[in-house]
């Protein structure tokens, strides 16, 4: 290793470390220290009226003045919050089940069968991705809440979320099914397998990685959405976690400790899943955009 390339090597480390510590994970550390501080305040330490430089410096270091698990304990004792988590889990998993099932069948057809309307069908999914969110909100609100009366029910949310996630899932899965060689199915047909056997016993098991990504995406759609949930649900008990968490820190209450603890509980599973599956997610996203 020459001197200059050694410099560059350490330069890389220096740059990455600085970036991560100052910007990259600072907000995350800050949330963690709020959550473990045991208080509801936004500031990590109480500053005296005329603080010195070091006291100010201490105030921005993301390290709580005392460690406590009380925020977590209290929020997990809070029935409202547990209810929100339950609602979110229910809505998001139903969204996943409905979304993935619909996406698998239609993506398979789009990938394997040649039929009139195939191209238009794919375009139909793609075009819907262009629609701005608020454009759908008004008609959906009127249709789901005012006409169908599904305002305070999980069903409305599940249906809307699964169709929101559907286009991405279909494109993603279709792309994956395309890579599975047709010869496998042909030989299965030779062995006398029925079309449904081929689909359920051969294709679906082969497509497991792609299905996992699709499932994660559907789940995230349901788990992270808050605005429709807030519009559809009038009853506080029926809020999903995102819609509920907002109310810890809106204008009237500022329970930052609860908010921080709650966000960690809500985000952690999704973050872990995301990190495991992000490579496939990226390839799916960019593949769709290139074709569009």
């Amino acid at each position: 290793m020459t001197l200059s390339s050694k410099k560059i090597y350490w330069g890389r480390h220096l740059f990455l470390m600085t970036f991560i510590l100052t910007i990259g994970i600072y907000p995350i550390l800050w949330v963690f220290s709020l959550a473990f501080s045991g208080s509801q305040s936004l500031s990590l330490v109480d500053l005296p009226p005329d603080p010195s430089f070091f006291e100010r410096l201490r105030a921005i270091v993301p390290w709580p003045s005392q460690w406590s698990l009380s925020n977590f304990k209290e929020i997990l004792d809070n029935e409202l919050f547990l209810g929100w988590i339950f609602n979110s889990l229910l809505v998001a998993s139903m969204t996943t089940i409905i979304g993935v099932f619909l996406a698998c069948t239609s993506a398979y057809a789009f990938s394997r069968f040649k039929f009139p309307g195939r191209k238009n069908g794919m375009m139909l999914f793609l075009v819907s991705q262009m629609f701005p969110g608020t454009m759908m909100m008004i008609p959906l609100y009127i249709i789901i809440v005012k006409w169908l009366g599904l305002g305070n029910s999980y069903i409305g949310l599940m249906l809307v979320y699964s169709t929101t996630a559907l286009p991405f899932c279909v494109w993603m899965l279709k792309g994956y099914f395309d890579t599975i060689p047709v010869e496998i199915e042909e030989s299965a047909i030779m062995d006398g397998a029925s079309p449904s056997t081929i689909f359920f016993k051969i294709i679906l098991p082969l497509a497991k990685p792609a299905i996992a990504v699709t499932a994660l995406f559907s789940f995230m759609t349901g788990w992270n959405e808050f605005i429709l949930a807030a519009i559809f649900m009038e009853d506080e008990n029926l809020y999903t976690a995102p819609a509920g968490l907002r109310f810890f820190v809106d204008g009237f209450s500022s329970k930052w400790g609860y908010f921080a603890a709650g966000s960690i509980i809500v985000s952690l599973p999704i973050v872990i899943l995301f990190i495991f599956l992000q490579k496939q997610l990226v390839s799916g996203l960019t593949a769709g955009s290139v074709k569009g």
Binding site: L16, P132, P139, S263
Partner: protein
């Protein structure tokens, strides 16, 4: 595929479309006639009612007028012969002093209104409304009767509510229940010939369909398909014009008939009313009856369903409507014809590819019901003035055409004058568009720059802890963005927020982040940049890793500097991965609702709203559903335009390289 010139389904389509067009035409013509008849009748009723109220007011000018009023009312009623009953409400004391209504017989004509009686309460509220309108009209000095007279048209009879005035003071309300009678318009013969022409021409245009089909299928040699297409379009246009002219001829004859009828009516009633008026000395100054007529027919305020049709003077608006109807009719025939053909083919395809459709059906049906139907419904809302309050009103009443779009796109009131100079109107569409464009470009630029820098730093095969760095740097993307937004909102808190602590650390004053347009904009940019750089980083990293290492080695041999390597190898090789990523992130950022909504909330005063949050605010904070829908469709149009330009540009660049 088509051996026969006219396969079965084409014939069916042709018959179906012909029948449909004729049916619709009949309905349209009848509706037009009925509306005109209806308006004429209403006008007649209005005249009758006004004559009666003039009589009563004339009577009120005499002494001891309340004595024996009931008997007089009955005699008036019998005189006109078109009235089911009248009721006079004296507003002070909420007392009915005269009633010849059937339902009030047992009460004997005079009684107090009861608070709990729904019908009584309605009458009282109506009277209060008329009083306040009456008074505001008198105060405004121009002698209009705007909103003083109310119509309530029902199946059996029409109710009219008019103010009663005694010595220039508001006395009460006269309620008249008029018998619904329809008087036919004269000159039916003229109408019938005209109607026949319209039918004939439309029938002719429908009959021509098979001729075109014949040409289509025969594929005449030496005549290009494009020529046939063009001739079809021109024939279609020509026919529309012919149909249009017949149609407008027909309707103009209708209006002339109406006008003749009303002129006769005017003269009759004017005599009657002037007779009554002579006996009035101190009563209010009436607008001449002819003026009334004009007023009633030129203002939609008395009776909302009334359109602007001037008596004897056909307005331009109705001409346009007629031409639309005519063109639509001919067009509809074609559509049905084509649809029938298409439907039969679809049915064929459905039978052939049963399995494929079975697999796709659930997803497609879901999309149609929950995405495309709401989409169309939203589109239909965009042409209405729907709000929270009039949502259940019939669609036709809410219809306002393109007014929402005009208000959005032609609202150039970007600046408003105040006492201390000019202010920017933050609710203006173009301001919001400007903010949105700044927001999108800045965010994407920052995202790409930061992502590129990080990816370059990470892209070294021998870098230790590479995986750890990568995972940590991806975290902002993995965290739900509503959490991120709220966290950053907390960090920007004026008193306790970390960012202001850092600013104070360097001795500056804390900043009120959400009070100024510029600073509030910065908060959004900071938040969005933080959560969008990982995507760019990951994509670019993927691109970097696909660049073959021997290219760099060759460059090194040639003596290229690091900058030259970056400029001539790395950047060009990144292009195919970077461009789609930039395209998609432009659309994402343009539509990034959560950040703006949660971090700055569009503060101050909506100045920082991007288009999509503005649309939300119109819909769910101001409850202007119609306007907000139109706003959303403008956003969609912008996105589509962007998509088309993007496509063209990328195709052009592809062709160049």
């Amino acid at each position: 595929m088509h051996e026969k010139f006219f396969p079965k389904q084409l014939v069916i389509g042709w018959v179906a479309s012909t029948l449909l067009v004729i049916g619709i035409l009949f309905i349209v013509l009848n509706t037009i006639e009925n509306t005109i008849l209806n308006k004429t009748n209403l006008y007649t009723k209005f005249m009758d009612a006004r004559v009666l109220s003039a009589r009563i007011e004339a009577h009120m000018a005499t002494d001891n007028w309340e004595d024996g009023l009931q008997e007089r009312a009955i005699s008036w009623q019998q005189e006109t012969g078109k009235i089911n009953g009248v009721r006079i409400l004296k507003l002070s004391g909420a007392k009915v002093i005269v009633s010849t209504l059937e339902k009030d017989k047992e009460r004997g004509g005079t009684y107090r209104l009861e608070r709990k009686n729904v019908e009584h309460k309605r009458l009282y509220d109506q009277a209060k409304l008329i009083k306040s309108n009456y008074q505001s009209n008198r105060n405004s000095e121009n002698l209009s009767e705007d909103k003083e007279i109310f119509f309530d048209q029902q199946k059996a009879s029409t109710w009219i509510y008019l103010p009663l005035v005694n010595d220039k003071k508001f006395y009460g309300v006269l309620e008249i229940d008029l018998i619904n009678s329809s008087e036919a318009l004269a000159s039916d013969g003229v109408l019938n010939t005209s109607r026949f022409y319209v039918l004939f021409v439309i029938l002719l245009s429908v009959l021509l369909f098979p001729v075109f089909v014949y040409f289509y299928q025969k594929k005449i040699p030496y005549v290009s398909q494009r020529f046939i297409n063009l001739s079809v379009v021109f024939t279609y246009l020509g026919l529309s014009i012919v149909v249009y002219s017949f149609f407008s001829d027909y309707t103009s004859k209708l209006y002339v008939a109406q006008s003749d009828f009303l002129t006769v009516l005017h003269n009759e009633r004017a005599e009657e009313l002037s007779f009554v008026k002579e006996s009035l000395s101190s009563a209010r100054n009436y607008i001449a009856i002819n003026e009334y007529g004009k007023y009633l027919f030129s203002s939609s305020s008395i009776y909302p369903q009334m359109q602007a049709i001037d008596v004897g003077n056909i307005s331009e608006k109705s001409f346009f409507i007629n031409s639309y109807i005519a063109i639509l009719l001919v067009g509809l025939g074609w559509v049905v014809f084509v649809t029938c053909d298409y439907a039969s083919r679809t049915w064929q395809a459905l039978k052939e590819h049963r399995q494929a459709y079975l697999y796709t059906a659930p997803a497609i049906i879901g999309m149609l019901l929950l995405v495309f139907f709401p989409f169309l419904y939203g589109l239909s809302l965009a042409f209405t003035n729907t709000t929270l309050l009039n949502e259940s009103a019939p669609y036709a009443e809410r219809w306002i055409g393109f007014d929402n779009f005009y208000a959005i796109l032609l609202g150039f009131d970007l600046f408003e004058t105040t006492n201390d100079g000019y202010n920017i109107n933050y609710d203006n569409f173009y301001w919001t568009l400007f903010i949105t464009i700044c927001w999108t470009l800045l965010n994407v630029a920052i995202g790409v720059t930061v992502g590129l820098a990080l990816a370059l730093a990470l892209n070294a095969p021998d870098l230790r802890f590479k995986a750890i760095y990568r995972v940590i740097l991806i975290l902002p993307w993995a965290i739900p963005n509503y959490v991120t937004s709220l966290v950053w909102k907390g960090m920007f808190h004026q008193q306790f927020g970390v960012i202001n602590q850092i600013i104070q650390l360097f001795g500056s004053e804390p900043i009120a982040w959400f009070d100024s347009v510029f600073y509030a904009f910065i908060t959004g940019i900071a938040t969005n940049s933080w959560l969008s750089f990982p995507f760019m980083m990951v994509v670019i990293l993927g691109g970097l890793q696909s660049i073959p290492a021997d290219m760099y080695e060759a460059a090194k041999v040639e003596g290229a500097s690091r900058w030259q390597q970056f400029r001539y190898i790395t950047l060009p090789s990144l292009k195919p991965t970077l461009i789609p990523a930039v395209i998609i992130s432009i659309v994402w950022t343009f539509n990034m609702f959560n950040i703006i909504f949660l971090v700055s909330g569009g503060e101050p005063a909506g100045a920082n709203d991007i288009l999509i949050t503005k649309a939300y605010r119109e819909a769910f904070e101001k409850y202007q559903y119609g306007y907000a829908s139109a706003y959303s469709f403008v956003i969609l149009a912008i996105l589509l335009m962007y998509g088309i330009i993007q496509n063209k540009v990328s195709k052009a660049t592809e062709a160049n390289t």
